[in-house]
Symmetry: C2
Subunit: 383 residues, 2 copies
Amino acid sequence: MENFEFFNPTRILFGKQAEQKIGKLLKKDDIEKVLFVYGKSSIKDIGLYDRVVSSLKKEGIEFIEHGGVKPNPVLSHTKEGITKAKENKVDAILAVGGGSVIDEGKTIAVGAKTDKDIWEYFKRDKVIKKALPVYVILTLAATGSEMNGFAVITNEETKEKLSITSEHIFPKLSILNPELTFTVSPQYQAYAAVDTIAHVIEYYFSGQYCPNLQNRLIETIIKTVMETTEIILDEPQDYNARAEFMWSATLALNGLTRLGIKGGEFPNHMIAHSLGALYDLPHGACLSIVIPAWMRWYKDKNHKQFERFAKEIFNVNSAEEGINNLKVWFKKIGAPVSLRDAGIVESEISRIVENAYNIAVVWDMAQKYSKEVLTEILKNAND
Amino acid sequence: MENFEFFNPTRILFGKQAEQKIGKLLKKDDIEKVLFVYGKSSIKDIGLYDRVVSSLKKEGIEFIEHGGVKPNPVLSHTKEGITKAKENKVDAILAVGGGSVIDEGKTIAVGAKTDKDIWEYFKRDKVIKKALPVYVILTLAATGSEMNGFAVITNEETKEKLSITSEHIFPKLSILNPELTFTVSPQYQAYAAVDTIAHVIEYYFSGQYCPNLQNRLIETIIKTVMETTEIILDEPQDYNARAEFMWSATLALNGLTRLGIKGGEFPNHMIAHSLGALYDLPHGACLSIVIPAWMRWYKDKNHKQFERFAKEIFNVNSAEEGINNLKVWFKKIGAPVSLRDAGIVESEISRIVENAYNIAVVWDMAQKYSKEVLTEILKNAND
């Protein structure tokens, strides 16, 4: 096992109707005024907006609204949020939504405490020193943002999708009520499943050594995600399936699954971020296109691990069969598995390569992921 | 899944030579004076004492020594530590050792901040409101105390072994260097394996519903503990085996494995605590005696889960075979599996029953664990 540091101070409140406690919990922490960050109309459609507002009002907590966060949250809207947070001198951010809303909320939390341009932190030119406390009510289980110190934002002018990471942006409290995900569409459930699987397989495959404990933990999450997604697609209101899926998605990216693994990177996310930035596709859809293509390119570099995956997850004996089975499963749940599925023509590949290569430079992965390599992977994604 | 709250703020520093950073890490937290809690001579034998002292001196951190913690830490020695902590106005506790040292350290941390009799907190008559910060260097992986809010102390006068639980006694930082466990004897490694398995199977079996995610997570830990223990007994200096075992023991009782399980109790620990209090046996040895006996008594109350355990862990088909296989494995690694193995004669059973029943009352489990039931379980442990 490699040396590691682990620290995760986020408090999780998990279960039915948990969101109704938000007002009381904020008050207990002496929060008087929050920036209430959310996306489009979905939290109003399911009555969540009203329940949150009522809980805040009951405890006399002031709130400034910052709705309209996009699925791939953009820098301009984030900056508007920072301005609101500063002008209104809020004590905390309350993010109600999925990973996009949480990521924008975290970024506003950093921006509210600095006079620097927030994008400098994404370019890794500045180190985050402080942030407002972030409170979360989760409505879509997928990104794991509810229990980690990451945030991803797209700069729509430069077409860059970049991330920040800091201990200061772990949410202080995240409320996870699986009932709030009953209305997540089959399509978005499929993307969420892909995203969660992606979070655990990046290090599992790209690391040079993965302890058996971590192999088993990762396979536990993959098996649970596949099992529960099939139940959810069949019966969207199955509470236990929604709950196990939700907690699996949180565990997948709260730090635990990568501990002790030697090496390891996030190459699939790197390429998927480019697809997201260029074509504004859902993150999970980008990943289901990239993953089988990357796997075909990478499999001989870590053959034993691909054979293990094939055996443990699909009970088949070859690396190739394992990859094919995963691709078939992605297709079965309704996720795209090629550029063509997403309406992206082959001539676009060079543009995607340029964009992904820029991320590779920022992530210090450009040596391994040259433009030639990226082209080869993306060509695998073409059919 | 049942509703749950999860919060675990302990920072883990895991890896080779990590203990050498202790002085710097304390200084970073503005700690100027610590109570240095440890057990017998073992930390001196392996040179750890000298390394800790040198690291503290280098950073100018004062320390008051409180050595001599017993394997089942006792109230009188703990009270001496509380007096030292108060008289010397220490800022923090530095516990260097295994679970016993950490548990005594945590208890001193609470005692140093109150004028009440510390035993009142164990009798659950008082709620813990504050504690000094606790820093840990772990030398024996087993109890999980390095990353949780529990502590167990034995009142040697009343022969009571009781526990406290509070968010205030989570260690602030725990240093886990697997190399420090190279000298753990085969016997203590066996007890540690039993203890870790015990921590994950209590809820797994005694709960009324265990989500598949949790079943798999628990089985991941059991499989890793069994696999690595066999390697360690064969090759005590196998770093990766020691490391995977160490982290498995931490994960087993840091809160994660019990989340979402319906119901569930710690009956094996309850009875094992009595054996520990009455005969001063190592905790793991008490558990390996109690577990197969309790399983035989309980198996028909949750038959499907016992069959699952048999299949997943030993690839056998009946609950009975699963229990027998576990008992055989305990024996194989050198742990006692009957009262007789520990030199306790049958006529002692009534005395153990009286003691265990008292714990059952404190733990609010006396309705299920009547004296008749406890007698039946202990009779199972007689052969």
